[in-house]
Amino acid sequence: MRFMMKKTIKYLPIIAICFMTGLANAQSEGLTSSPYSLYGLGVINQTSIGKTNGMGYAGIGLRSETEINNLNPSNFALIPQNSFFYDIGVVGELNSYSNASYSESKSTLNFSNLAFAFRIADRLGAGVSLVPYTDVGYTLVGLETNIEGSNETFNSNVTGLGGLNDLSINLGYGLSEAFRLGIKASFLFGNIEETEGFAISNSYFQLDEVTNYSGVRLGIGAQYDIFKDFTIGSTVQLPVSLKGNVTRSVYKTLDDVEIQVEDEEGDSVSDFKLPLELGFGLSTKLIKSFTLSADYKHNFWDSTEQSENVGTYIDQDIYAIGLEYLKNERGFKYWDRVRYRGGFNYDNGYLAINDNKIDGYAITAGLGLPVGRTSNSMLNISYSYGSKGQIQNILVKENYHTITINFSLEDLWFRDRKIN
């Protein structure tokens, strides 16, 4: 096993590049099949890297020295000497969504992340991660719209695919043993492809719009260990306007003849504003074997003053709490070293349709399975059951099961050489 790991690591840079491109491609396939991904830039991805997926996505105040904690850049200061962390993940999702009269299920499977982190100097660590920022994947059929100037209607079908990626560069520095600061630059980029088509009398019409968004978002984070086993943390994500460009193609049939009205013509589209996001978190050891992590985030969507044709963006609160149980890190029995996790996440939503906020919750459970004895390498598996929306009125209720598998691996640089 050990030998194999080493071999793999040798090819890591090449594999990493393949994955980077693979991930970007995978994005355009659509990671979600949520009808809610219709709005804004799509469904904002909750899953992160490593252990926090099993802990209700809480980790701003989580001091993590053994693997990447991507939720707070200051945590990158904690990377141990000679360690190189990397994390590769996949996510599978089964969505069931329903409204008053219909229900349907869909499953998707995709990459969730690629990340690595390393130490630069004493108390100075850096990390690069590529994670999906938003996912778009929906199909809505039979949208009925009035034909102006008549009593008739037309039924259109709308599909959306794509999403944005978040390529982040993190830097964490420890001002002291107990106080760490971090900065983060996120390159957000990606395409959202929307297609709408309908038939009226003898004619068919289809509009394909590929919207490309890009922008750089800056964030800062801090962690402070008040006591040995009690850490508080905070993150600030600065607001940013993502620039949008749309490429439009229009097809139609007229008198049964197919006509391309527009062929990939460029047009401007209004920028999409991401709000100021403040996060607070804490973590503490309870008794001896339990670690508790809790986060609160507030995202100031109100001040972006954005709206969809069916709703407006309003301030969002996210509460997350997670617990990890570890019997004995150095236990002789394998199962003593396994980490058991559970968590809960409540998100009151950032979009209100007819004054109904689309809120959602997720219950998570996870396992951290150690890989080998000499490193902190871990196979992190999480399962989450979530629900979003409500059936009343027009909203779509969505239930989803998510499984993430993360290879959160540590390679020990230089240390091996001594043995050789």
Partner: protein, 436 residues
Amino acid sequence: MSLSIFVLWSCSSENYNASDFLAGEEFTDSNIRVALIDTITVEISTMKFDSIVASESSRVLVGKYNDPEFGVVKSSAYMGLMPSSYVIDSEAEYDSIALYMKYDSYYYNDTLRTNTLHVKRLSATLKPSEGDYLYNTSEAEYFEDDIGALAFMPRPMDGDSLEIKLSDALGVDLFEKFQEKEITTSDQFKDYFKGIALIPGQTDNGSVIGFTKSSESIFVRLYFSEAEETERVQSYLDLNMDVISSPVPFFNRIESENPNTNLETLSDQEVNLDSKDTGGLSYIQSGVGIATRVEFPHIKNLYDIKGRGTILDAVLKIRPLSGSFTDNLILKDSLSVYIVDQNNDLISQLLVEEIAPVQGILNRDNEEFNDIYYEFSLGSYIEELFTEEMETEEALILLPDNYNSTVDRFILNGSGNTGYSTVMELTFAIYDEEDD
């Protein structure tokens, strides 16, 4: 090992487009606005061709009737003949001569009235005064005296032939010319016998009847007998309609005299009789060459609609004038569309993708409510008008597709007749509202 599994997984992707989920119209709105616009200006007028090519007519048309609006409508046919053989035995004896014509099922107006048909002998060879064609207005010369005549009740749907006995004087003359070998070539025959004219009776008010235009269906049969060993045997020689010579020595002369005062003003092809000046009416009479002219002068006003849009459909609806058609003056089920230039010279038929002719189909779905109209899908044409940079000087005209072989007539509600006016229903999709 584990990495290669990822690579394999990456290949699995769902088909996201397969969904039947009806999210509900409130869940989202369409990004596209669709409007039905029926305020497009349609200018309707009537024009009349100076002449139409008649030698290419697909049938022989003979008959006469009085139309309350179009006047005395009359069609006479003129054609050359060609013998099937030039040999008659010297011992043969003349018997009789008759003209046969086969109905082709076309008729217009009342077939329950008696038609008269006068057969005349042409006094001059049929040929165009200039060019290659004979027109509906061409003149032919013939001897006054009938060589045959028949009063008959037309039975156009039977598929039978009409038999008209011709004068024995002519029969004997022709018989002897062949028997004595005075005519042995087609040129000699054509020189001697220029052809026949089929003229309806002066006082007829019946129907215009169509006969099949072919050498097998229209012929003069010269009967004679030949002596065999024990008895005399009937034989004959046919003079078939000449459809081989070039230019074809044939045309239908179609005319209508004393029409209503509106139609009388159509003295020249370039006259466009605006339907606003004729009580909102426009006219079509095939054969004679009266057509309804349609123009869309303000189609580019669509650009005034805010945003970027495209035409999805354009349906022109024209209503025939209520009471203008009867069981006899029947309304045909379809109309074709042609393009004319500013001088009303015919350019071509209106086709979609240069193949499919545009047709106006009579919609009788609500006939019981007196709601009956011709529907034309003009989407491609309107789009061309809309997107072309130059304002066109061309116009559309409406005529039956075999307009040189029929005498169908139509009285239509043009513009200005409130409630019944011609309307264009345009379906327009606006897919980018911000754009100008």
